[in-house]
């Protein structure tokens, strides 16, 4: 029985649980819901939950455990040397799985009759599987074939076992729920507890993902720092990776490029976004606001690669021809300025939207108080509304900064990929994110420092943005209650 079919059966048992439990409790009180502890629907939901949830848990555990158990069983077919060496064992297992699934396909496609599978000779496997579109790189060794056949048998019996166990658990859960269903059973509390569990699980997923990302990056980073001294990484001023060996990974040019481009971006985004927000929140008529706000937010919907094109063919040449060359600051179309300005424009809607919400949250009574003292609108905005909204605005700015630091595509197209340490904003530079992409694309060997440096960069980038986010949270928390 496939997983999908099994899920359908479980859903059916769950639906039955709902109907039975609800019907049973209604019969017990003679159709008068006032004598029940909870609404009749809660008894039904309790039945459905008890029938499906434990069964679902068993199924998930089975799905995870089965391959592990199978692996430990077939490993005896492999030669001692292969089984002892983790990398070779991994490869052999992949082969076995491939042959086993090939055999399944061949049986399903009719290329091999089901009863012949056990007696098939290793020499003909490759040709026979080829006819159903399963291409094997080399001839199958007898050990691999034997292991694959064992694997296949065990997997089939596992499949049957899984279906039987899961359905039994579902039915047991249903029976338990039916027995528990009495008028004074607190079904509502039980159902709400399960819902609470679901809510907690949902919030945990996000946290666990972050933990997982950090863990995977940490292990790879440590591997990198095992090959390359950390002092040279963090304090080196030359970045020249060389895939044939002898690389230097000085991180400072990348950090400088990242910070420089982010600084330019924020110098563009913060004033423009903030002024737009002040206009929208304080001066615009409702009609103007209803037109302008969505128009600004359109920017947020433009893919960054389109912004990259804009940087590459419009902003870059414009800055080169009208500023950099006349001022004698260089003749590169790709520059910190180009990428910074375009990233800044990209971030305007984030700042304006968030700041607009924050400014609107400042109580009207504060504005009235200021007007009542004879302040003009502009004085009120500058001296009362903005100070009150400041923590939120700082938070919005830091969030936009995090986004700017993480931006990749616009940097590649607008600022180039040369790691340089220079003060001239009209020179091409690059950022950490661009180098991460650069080190990981193409044919890569995950054992070399040239590739692993990407994880060290990623980890550092993560720490930087994390610190910024924590700072944003701290600022917002510290000043939040000022006008409440």
């Amino acid at each position: 029985m496939s997983v999908l079919l099994l899920l359908a059966v479980m859903a059916a048992i769950g639906a039955a649980g709902y109907i039975f439990c609800r019907g049973r409790v209604m019969a017990q009180v003679g159709g008068n819901p006032r004598e029940l502890h909870s609404l009749p629907g809660y008894y039904g939901w309790n039945g459905a939950i008890m029938a499906t949830l434990p069964a679902l848990a068993v199924m998930v555990v089975w799905l995870i455990a089965q391959p592990l158990i199978l692996e430990s069983r077939v490993v005896s077919h492999l030669p001692e040397a292969t089984a002892a060496e983790p990398a070779a064992r991994k490869l052999a297992m992949a082969d076995i799985r491939r042959v086993a699934s090939g055999l399944d396909l061949a049986v399903a496609g009719g290329a091999i009759p089901a009863q012949d599978v056990a007696t098939i000779s290793p020499g003909e496997v490759r040709a026979r599987l080829g006819t159903v579109g399963v291409a094997l790189g080399s001839d199958v060794t007898p050990e691999t074939l034997a292991a694959a056949i064992t694997w296949r048998d065990q997997a089939r019996s596992g499949l049957i076992g899984r279906s039987v166990v899961v359905i039994l658990v579902a039915l047991a859960g249903l029976a338990y729920a039916l027995m528990a269903t009495k008028p004074d059973f607190r079904a509502r509390n039980r159902v709400e507890k399960v819902v609470l569990g679901g809510l907690i699980a949902a919030s945990t997923v996000a946290i666990l993902t972050t933990v997982g990302i950090v863990a995977s990056m940490l292990s790879e980073s440590f591997e990198f720092f095992g090959m390359y001294p950390w002092t040279e990484f963090f304090f080196g001023v030359t970045w020249s990776p060389n895939f044939s060996g002898g690389s230097t990974f000085g991180f400072l040019p990348l950090l400088w490029g990242t910070l420089y481009i982010t600084l330019v971006a924020m110098l563009v985004a913060v004033p423009l976004g903030l002024f737009a927000a002040i206009y929208l929140a304080e001066y615009a008529s409702p009609r103007a606001r209803s037109v302008i706000k969505p128009l600004i937010e359109v920017i947020a919907g433009i893919p960054t690669v389109v912004f990259g094109i804009f940087a590459l063919i419009t902003v870059g040449p414009f800055l080169r021809d009208w500023l950099a060359q006349p001022l004698g600051l260089g003749n590169s179309g790709s520059s910190v300025m180009t990428a910074g300005i375009v990233i800044g424009i990209l971030n305007i809607p984030y700042i304006s939207s968030l700041s607009d919400d924050i400014i609107n949250a400042v109580p009207q009574s504060l504005r009235d108080g200021s007007f009542g003292l004879g302040a003009t609108k502009s004085e009120t905005v500058r001296q009362v509304v903005l100070p009150a909204a400041l923590p939120g605005i700082v938070g919005a700015g830091l969030m936009a900064t995090s986004r700017a630091i993480g931006e990749t595509m616009i940097v590649v197209m607008g600022a180039g990929a040369a790691a340089k340490l220079s003060l001239n904003p009209f020179e091409a530079m690059t950022t950490m994110t661009v180098k991460i992409v650069g080190q990981l694309t193409g044919d890569t060997d995950f054992g070399s420092p040239e590739t692993l440096v990407a994880f060290a960069l990623g980890m550092t980038l993560f720490v930087i943005t994390l610190c910024l986010n924590i700072l944003a949270l701290y600022v917002v928390r510290k000043y939040r209650e000022q006008y409440e």
């Binding site: 109580p363 009574s365 504060l366 009235d368 108080g369 200021s370 007007f371 009542g372 003292l373 004879g374 302040a375 003009t376 004085e379 001296q383 009362v384 100070p387 009150a388 000022q482 006008y483 409440e484």
Partner: protein, 265 residues
């Protein structure tokens, strides 16, 4: 009405400070204030009483043109401050509000320090030449608002950290710091407890020596305690206006009598 404390009711001067003639206010299509004419004397506390929605707050907000900030609001009629029409084209509402200060129902101190709250008005109007003068204004206003002793040691802590009654007195100090000629108070005690209310009422009585005070209140006892003149509003009309003692003891209009004896409202 037995607890009514009859305060000194003699009006010191009889100069008319604000003269309103036939004022009508419309919010969109609804007619909120119908032909109100009132002459508010100088150096007097004038109370506006009446049931909710009777237009007393609307009229108060006409006196410093706070209604200008409401798009759908339309005011006609004549309101003159010292004989000058405040709705005249040449009058800047911002300048007017510096002369006609306002204290609101809910204390609304700015999220700044106590000192900055009080110095806000003098600073934006450029009333002082140096820091010492500003300090002097802040101190004298806080003293007038009977708050100085409580806050003199923490002038630079946030105004929002004060208690409700202290916050309201801070707002009064802030309003008198621009040295206005008229002080409008929109139910200044409705968010305060009885002790804070008593303090603010005492303060209002003292302020009478320097300003003309107009107070909107829901509490008839409060009107009787603090005011010399009382105006009774009902359904957008000014029903009766006169000396406070006379309004409360021998009202001329049956509606006023019903309201103060608790039959309508």
């Amino acid at each position: 009405m037995n607890d009514m404390r009859i305060v000194e009711r003699t009006v010191d001067t009889h100069d008319v400070k604000i003269d309103a003639k036939d004022v009508n206010v419309h919010y969109g299509t609804s007619h909120a204030l119908k032909g109100v004419s009132v002459a508010i004397p100088d150096k007097t506390v004038t109370a506006f009483i009446g049931p909710s929605g009777c237009g007393k707050s609307t009229f108060l907000r006409c006196l410093n043109r706070m209604n200008d900030t409401i798009a759908s609001c339309r005011v006609d009629g004549l309101i003159a401050l010292d004989g000058e029409d405040i709705y005249d084209r040449r009058v800047d509402p911002v300048q007017l509000r510096a002369k006609v200060g306002m204290v609101f129902q809910k204390p609304n101190p700015f999220p700044k320090s106590i000192y900055d709250n009080v110095s806000y008005g003098p600073k934006i109007h450029g009333l002082t030449r140096n820091k010492a003068e500003l300090d002097e204004i802040v101190e004298s206003c806080l003293k007038k608002a009977a708050l100085w002793n409580e806050v003199k040691d923490r002038l630079h802590s946030p105004g929002t950290g004060l208690s409700g009654g202290q916050q309201q007195r801070l707002c009064i100090a802030r309003a008198i710091a621009t040295s206005p000629e008229v002080l409008l108070m929109d139910e200044p005690c409705s968010a305060l407890d009885p002790i804070a209310t008593a303090q603010v009422e005492e303060l209002i009585d003292e302020l009478r020596s320097s300003f003309s005070v107009v107070i909107v209140t829901h509490s008839m006892q409060q009107a009787a305690r603090v005011s010399q003149r009382t105006a009774f509003f009902h359904l957008g009309n000014l029903v009766e206006y006169g000396e406070t003692g006379q309004i409360f003891t021998s009202p001329q209009d049956p509606r006023t009598e019903s309201y103060i004896s608790g039959r309508i409202g």
